[in-house]
């Protein structure tokens, strides 16, 4: 992602003037990514809790880098299913994806990427069509990789 050259690392949460609140991570369209190391490390150490501020912010950066995926052909299908998921998250008490994903399609994308890398098998089992739409977006299949490795 050549547009994102600067990565600012804070020890913990930091105040965003833009959002007027404390945040764990932030990605700006001017090519800057801000990350709380404390929360990055927590997400990194626990690699199946579906929480990873690094993956989350890099997902936002990817979306900005690729002009909100307007020229990425699998996006149309991904967005269609993603919006359906957002409705489910809003209406259901508990859901495989966390509530924050229902904020908007950008957050849904970032939350999905976190889940995709942290709990790929559960993701594929519970929402196979959405999983494979994400495979098409990221052009990689972690479940297939794990299955190949298990046979070696």
């Amino acid at each position: 992602m050549p547009s994102f050259e600067l990565i600012h690392i804070y020890p913990s949460t930091f105040h965003s003037k833009l959002l007027e609140q404390e945040v764990k991570g932030l990605t700006l369209g001017n090519g800057r990514i801000f990350i709380s190391w404390q929360h990055f490390e927590e997400g990194h150490e626990d690699d199946d809790d579906k929480l990873h501020v690094g993956l989350h912010e890099f997902a936002h950066a990817m979306m900005i880098e690729y002009q909100h995926f307007q020229y990425v052909s699998p996006w149309k299908k991904w967005r269609y299913i993603g919006e359906r998921m957002m409705t489910e998250i809003r209406t259901q008490e508990t859901h495989f994806f966390r509530k924050y994903g229902a904020t908007n399609i950008h957050e849904m994308w970032a939350v999905t990427v976190e889940t995709f890398f942290e709990q790929p098998k559960e993701f594929r089992t519970q929402h196979p069509d959405f999983y494979y739409a994400t495979v098409a977006m990221l052009n990689q299949d972690p479940c297939a990789r794990m299955e190949i490795l298990e046979t070696i």
């Binding site: 600067l6 690392i9 804070y10 990817m62 490795l149």
Partner: protein, 120 residues
Amino acid sequence: MAPAFIIIIALIFYFFVFPDMYARWKNRIKHGRKPGLSSYELDEDVSNAQYLADIVNTLKTRFPWYQKLTTAEKYEFANRTYYIRKSKTFHGMEDFVLEDKHEIILSATLAAHLWSEEKF
């Protein structure tokens, strides 16, 4: 009939095939690599070899995703992490003391995210 067919083929090449070929070529020049394994580190000096060795050591101990790769993929992944780390500027904010491991783990996370992308 024949001229129309030729015009359609020409338009397909102009709008779809040539831009894709150009993008691939530009990407190859930019990153100095062909698809598959990178080779740009082979003529690096010793300090850069050490820089790459530090990356590999950190990946082995701090990045579980790296352990799930085949030997050839590990080589490619370490190279990508190396390239990403070199291409980004990291800033420690609010007196955060930035260490090599911070830069390496962040770069590796981005490399994993973009693992299948030619343009990483």
